[in-house]
Symmetry: C2
Subunit: 224 residues, 2 copies
């Protein structure tokens, strides 16, 4: 039987690299999708290419959509500083409707490929409090995907997988290591420099560093 | 009380122009969003700009996303001919996941603008049989939007309006006329020429022509 196809959203960060390794272990034929949406940390996209190559995918594609032009986030607007300590509520690093847009683009590609699976590395535990990382959001997108496409009308199924949803950062890292992810290739920092070196101070860096510490594994992150 | 804001998806065709006029009559402050997704009928985007200006919007914005690079549709792939007679099933002019992507981008802009309304001119009667024009698809996106955004978490509401959903093409045209839409500015044809002149033979042209005939109104369409 031919392997089933999966479109895997790949940002170049730690979580999505782990999600890709998970999908590969599940036996899916993996098509990795990165999206250049105007993120200030473009080093992430270079990292995505390295991760895709290192884990072995059928194809890695980068689509462009200019969410940055809409503004409203420190991740796309260099005039808004990236906060270096956590606060209450949804942080300014949240990009409006980002995961909805990313999943929509993945859905489009899945439909063209005839892929029955879509994998996203969102995580609702050690995360930044974004609304579109919650289990109820993923469930709602699953329902939308069930109705949105040609395949849906013609009776095919499309399953959304968010394997990391309920894992701690330490669990993610331990599982990724087991699956052979080289985290030295990944970039999580919200304001990495052009060489992909991390600031060590932003929310994403703090979660990542704490994850390696808690997993009791060496942290291969290159800091600036 | 300040007018409520609405993001209105505006393709430049007959339906979305009517949806914009509907939103304006509802008293919304309208922000029109067009999306260049690789459609072969780029004359539609010129039409969108004319319609936005003619109906008066706060802002008209065009975002770019290259769905065309994914292939799979006669509307984005010039190597696939546009069919000139209807057939069974979902036609090859269907663009994979297009309305999901369009609504996602509108959701992103709505979130940045603090808009509580999102308007799309989909129609489930005189249409081409696309899965993402059905009422159940719109309902699923409404549920997704309820969960996806910062506003959702903070208690604001986001309402999806599809006012044309259950109207016949003739009803749409009569209502648009009443609201002052100049259909001479709109382009519906799947393969309009660079000047926006319609082929008169594709599915979209046939539905549009039949609509004017059934509404017993003069058809201002410019045919090639």
């Amino acid at each position: 039987m031919a392997a089933e196809r999966a479109v895997v959203l790949l940002s170049g960060g730690l979580d999505s690299a782990t999600a890709l390794a998970w999908a590969r272990e599940r036996g899916f034929e993996c098509f990795a999708l990165s999206v250049a949406y105007g993120q200030r940390h473009a080093a992430e996209l270079d990292a995505a290419a390295r991760v895709a190559q290192s884990l072995g995918v059928c194809e890695h594609r980068t689509m462009h959509v200019d969410l940055g032009s809409l503004g409203g986030s420190a991740l796309t607007d260099t005039s808004i500083p990236v906060p270096e300590q956590g606060g209450a509520g949804i942080p300014i690093t949240y990009v409006p409707a980002r995961n909805t847009v990313l999943l929509s683009l993945a859905l489009a590609w899945a439909e063209v490929l005839g892929a029955g699976h879509l994998v996203i590395g969102v995580n609702a535990l050690d995360y930044s409090g974004y609304p579109d990382c919650r289990p109820e959001f993923i469930a709602a997108f699953q329902e939308l995907a069930r109705l949105a496409t040609r395949a849906a009308v013609e009776g095919a199924s499309l399953e959304i997988h968010a394997p990391l949803l309920q894992w701690s950062k330490a669990q993610i890292i331990r599982e990724g290591r087991r699956l052979g992810v080289d985290y030295g290739l990944t970039v999580s920092c919200y304001q990495a420099d052009a060489e992909g070196r991390a600031c060590g101070r932003c929310d994403s860096c703090r979660l990542r560093r704490a994850g390696f510490a808690s997993a009791k594994l060496a942290d291969p992150t290159r800091y600036a």
